[in-house]
């Protein structure tokens, strides 16, 4: 049985972060909105639960920016669904956002665990 862990461990996602996560999710192939939500939840071990009120606006926004494309298709159980695909532009954006994220998390990590870093040198 899935545990209902939201409330306590649910983390509010920053707008840019959600975009990054969606793009990353779509890297594994086209998916509909429900599938994206499920996958984010599963791959974050239920920590991140995306609010549909954030997910759908984000999908539509990313579509507008040309980072993902959408098309109607029919699922296995005959349900008409809107399928989102990562575009080439989106793939590039994902690379950029990922490297930024990595820099940020490294930087924040460095701040939180100062002992682990060297005093930077001046050029």
């Amino acid at each position: 049985m899935p545990t209902n862990s939201h409330g306590l461990s649910r983390i509010e996602l920053l707008q840019g972060t959600l975009d990054l996560i969606i793009l990353q999710t779509l890297r594994w192939g086209p998916r509909h909105g429900y599938g994206i939500a499920q996958m984010i939840r599963a791959s974050s071990q239920d920590v991140l639960q995306v609010d549909t009120g954030s997910l759908y606006p984000a999908l539509h926004r990313l579509e507008r920016q040309g980072w993902i494309a959408a098309d109607w298709s029919t699922s296995e159980n005959k349900q008409r669904v809107r399928i989102y695909t990562l575009t080439a532009k989106g793939r590039k954006q994902l690379e950029r956002e990922r490297s930024q994220w990595e820099q940020l998390s490294r930087a924040i990590g460095a701040i939180l665990t100062p002992a682990a870093t060297q005093p930077e040198s001046e050029s």
Binding site: H32, Y56, R61
Partner: protein, 862 residues
């Protein structure tokens, strides 16, 4: 419901259906699954709504966000914001002020009905030594008016000055002669009463007058009973038949209009402007061919042989404004340069500010803001700055327009009464503000958004060296170059002005007071009565205590009037055909009063009168050209085409040439004694000149003398010759002052910009400088280092500016007097001024750098 709404609903429905199916597959009942899925999904309507919001109004919403964010950012840096906004307010305001004048004078349609169809018709000789304003001669006008078909109607008019007497003090009024068709052609009818009738175009019927609204209100208290009343103009009683609507003063600030009744004169033809309203469907080209055809069909005047008249159909507006067009556009260009310099300054400030905001930007980038978004944010900020600057600029423009109008030479700029700030000016200011904001914001925004987050985050808050070092130098170099171009323009105008002022004009008359009179032909119908008036006046003036010399001249140097003509020489004459000279009529003593030197022979005396042998005084150039190897005194010339035995005038004296008019060239002149002049035309306009004894003031006494002799004659141009000179060169002086103002602004901004960049450089290099000092550099070396950098920037800018000046200042050619637009002395002088200003601007930061103490800085930074 739109298709997109349906799609969103369907997408949400699919989400729920999939969620329910999932749960049922895991063993839940349909009811449980539905409840759980809905609970997890949340409010369907809300999700649909926020999804729909995407794209709609997002642009606007982001703009709103950016503006709020920008506003907060600006408030956080009040010093920067104040300097940037003030710089822009000044520069944009100056542009709006100049645009206000350009718009009203050059761009706005004339305040007449359908003004685009109004054209001036002209058929005049070309290739004359002077330029005639467009017009037709009287015979052609009559013929043209009768036969023209391309114009609905044509109207003749002619400016005139009239003396209004009998209603308060006698006053001189600007007015116009106007044909009966004049008001119809312009499409403006009297607000009160009627326009002229065709019958009033005939000589003998013209004793009627139409008043301007202004004159009617100020002189006649806006009394409607004025219609049918009689007023006296130039001593002639005329019946008031109409009052024009408020604001109508065409041509040239006219206050009264009288009928243009053409009286043909066998010996002369008179030229006046003719305006027509183009018929619908006709083109100016067709009208031009028609005019040429009508003119060629007329019998030719043998005296006009050799001149080649050309037909021209010119938009009426162009004929009014053509002579100020260039100088107004030059000013508009100059003030645009000031704005560009301001842009460079603000862009540099933004770059410096961007350096201090790198951390903020990096955090935003790291948090997912796209570079585009950040660039847009920064651009929004700069446009916001520009808009605030523009809003304040409107206030600056208000003051600027008032100052411009106050400085503008009276009566020299056409349509000056129409100058006002209006919707177009506001629109212009708005557009200029937005463009300015983008212009100075785009480079800082691009480079601000390009920062890599790790760079800033990694380096923390410390500032090192200076980013955008190269960009800032480019901006400073650019603004120095622009400032130099403006300085050159102003320098050329100033040099030209100085040459004008130091010009040897041929007389020494800075303190001589003039007073012009026009004698109305009703009271002074013949030469004898006019001469009697002059004689009495001269006698009265000479009795003024403090008057050391008096004289009279029919048209004074630096006046508005001039009469030129040819003459015959007894015996063989070396003069080319069409050699024209000035022919003023003067009194005895005139030369002495004005300080014109008698080089040979004698002055006129009271004995040179009617009945005595005819005499004439010639100016130096005339004497030299006709009798190069002999004395002119005793030779004979005549003003008549075919002189009879009594038409010969003996030369009794030679005087030096004088500068007569605004062209400031010396004229060849023949002087005739007023007591031997018989045509009232050459006598009834006379200027009396009085040279005051040192320390004496004579103007009031001169006015009193005139009142004693004839109270109905108003005194005109009661001023010193020096003032006349200033009036004559008022236009270039006006242009010089404005250019100098703008150039000064430019210099100030460029100096501030240089200072800003160097000060920032020095503050960024404190550490390096400290290190150098620690390693043994003396304050002197550091000072030289910073000043050296200043000099490099200034030299680069100056070199660019000189190149720019050489290509651009030719637009001033028309306004310059005996100075070439490429005058090397001016270029060197302004370059020196600019270099000095830059070095002064660099000196403060340099001194600060030299004051850096080695130890402190090293400690401070470790």
């Amino acid at each position: 419901m739109s298709r997109r709404d349906d799609e969103i609903r369907e997408e949400i429905h699919a989400h729920l259906a999939l969620a329910i199916a999932d749960r049922m597959a895991r063993g839940a009942t349909r009811a449980e699954a539905e409840r759980a899925a809905r609970a997890e999904f949340g409010n369907v309507t809300h999700v649909a709504e926020v999804t729909r919001e995407v794209g709609r109004g997002v642009w606007l919403e982001r703009l709103g966000q950016d503006l709020r964010y920008g506003w907060r950012a600006l408030r956080r840096t009040p010093a920067f914001t104040t300097v940037a906004v003030a710089t822009l307010a000044l520069a944009i305001g100056a542009n709006s002020a100049v645009f206000t004048v350009v718009n009203s004078v050059l761009l706005a349609p004339l305040p007449f009905r359908d003004p685009g169809r109004l054209y001036a018709a002209s058929y005049l000789p070309t290739g004359l030594p002077f330029e005639l304003p467009p017009g037709l001669d009287d015979r052609l006008y009559l013929e043209y008016r009768a036969h023209v078909s391309r114009f609905e109607q044509v109207a003749g008019y002619q400016r005139q000055a009239l003396t209004l007497s009998g209603a308060g003090d006698a006053t001189r009024l600007a007015g116009a002669l106007a044909s009966s068709t004049f008001f119809d052609v312009l499409g403006v009818q009297p607000a009160l009463g009627r326009a002229f009738t065709a019958a009033e175009d005939q000589p003998g019927n013209e004793r009627v007058v139409i008043l301007s609204d202004g004159l009617w209100r100020t002189r006649f208290n806006g009394d409607r009973g004025i219609l049918g009343a009689t007023i006296t103009l130039d001593g002639v009683p005329r019946t008031v038949v109409g009052v024009m609507p408020r604001g109508f003063t065409f041509p040239a600030a006219s206050q009264v209009w009288t009928p243009l009744a053409v009286r043909l004169d066998a010996g002369n033809s008179f030229i006046f402007p003719v305006v027509g309203r183009l018929r619908a469907g006709a083109t100016p080209e067709q009208a031009k061919s028609e005019l040429a055809a009508i003119a060629r069909a007329m019998p030719q005047d043998p005296r006009a042989a050799g001149f080649h008249p050309t037909a021209a159909i010119i938009p009426l507006k162009d004929t009014l404004t053509s002579h100020v067009r260039t100088s107004l556009l030059v000013l508009a260009g100059a003030v645009a340069f000031v704005l560009l310099i301001a842009c460079a300054n603000v862009a540099n400030l933004l770059l410096i500010r961007a350096a201090t905001r790198r951390h903020e930007m990096a955090v935003r980038v790291a948090l997912g803001a796209s570079r585009g978004r950040i660039a847009r944010q920064l651009l929004t900020e700069s446009v916001l700055i520009a808009l605030i600057g523009g809003a304040l600029g409107i206030l600056v423009a208000f003051a600027g327009v008032r100052a411009l109008l106050a400085m503008a030479p009276a009566g020299r700029i056409p349509r000056i009464g129409e100058v006002q700030m209006n919707g177009w000016v506001l629109l212009f200011t708005l557009a200029v503000s937005v463009i300015t904001g983008i212009l100075f914001g785009v480079v800082p925004a691009r480079s601000g958004a390009r920062r890599e987050p790790h760079e800033a985050l990694g380096q923390g808050m410390r500032l090192v060296g200076g980013p955008h070092h190269r960009l800032r130098s480019i901006f400073v170099t650019g603004e120095i170059a622009l400032a130099l171009i403006l300085l050159t323009g102003a320098g050329l105008m100033i040099k030209s002005f100085l040459i004008m002022r130091s010009l040897d004009i041929g007389y020494d008359a800075s303190r001589v007071v003039t007073m012009a009179v026009d004698l109305p032909s009703i009271a002074y119908p013949d030469a004898a009565r006019i001469q009697a008036f002059h004689t009495t006046m001269l006698e009265r003036l000479s009795r003024i205590p403090g008057a050391s010399a008096v004289g009279a001249v029919s048209f004074r140097p630096m006046g508005d009037v001039g009469i030129m003509g040819d003459f015959q020489v007894e015996g063989p004459s070396p003069l080319p055909h069409g050699y024209n000279v000035d022919k003023p009529t003067v009194s005895p003593g005139y030369f002495g009063a004005l300080g014109i030197r008698i080089l040979a022979g004698r002055d006129f005396t009271a004995a040179d009168r009617a009945g005595a042998p005819g005499v004439v005084v010639v100016s130096e150039t005339v004497a030299k050209q006709i009798w190069p190897n002999a004395s002119a005194v005793g030779r004979r010339i005549s003003m008549q085409e075919h002189p009879g035995p009594n038409d010969w005038l003996t030369v009794i004296g030679v005087v030096n040439d004088v500068v007569q008019d605004a062209a400031l060239s010396r004229h060849s002149t023949l002087y005739l004694p007023y007591l031997q002049t018989t045509s009232p035309f050459f006598l009834n306009h006379m200027t009396f000149v009085v040279r005051p004894a040192p320390g004496a003031s004579v103007a009031t006494a001169m006015r009193a003398a005139l009142r004693d002799v004839d109270p109905a004659v108003p005194a005109q141009a009661l001023q010193t010759m020096d003032q006349s000179m200033m009036e004559t060169i008022a236009e270039p002086v006006f242009q010089m002052r404005l250019l100098a103002t703008f150039a000064f602004l430019a210099l100030l901004l460029a100096a501030l910009g240089t200072y800003g960049v160097l000060a920032y450089d020095v503050s960024g290099r404190t550490r390096e400088i400290g290190l150098r000092m620690a390693l043994g550099a003396t304050p002197g070396i550091v000072l030289r280092m910073v000043l050296g950098r200043t000099a490099v920037l200034a030299l680069l800018g100056a070199a660019l500016g000189v190149a720019g000046s050489l290509t651009l200042t030719s637009v001033l050619t028309m306004s310059l007097f005996e100075v070439k637009p490429t005058d090397p002395i001016t270029l060197v002088a302004v370059t020196v001024v600019l270099m000095l200003a830059a070095l002064v601007a660099g000196y403060l930061p340099a001194q600060r750098a030299a004051g850096v103490r080695a130890l402190t800085t090293l400690l401070l930074h470790e």
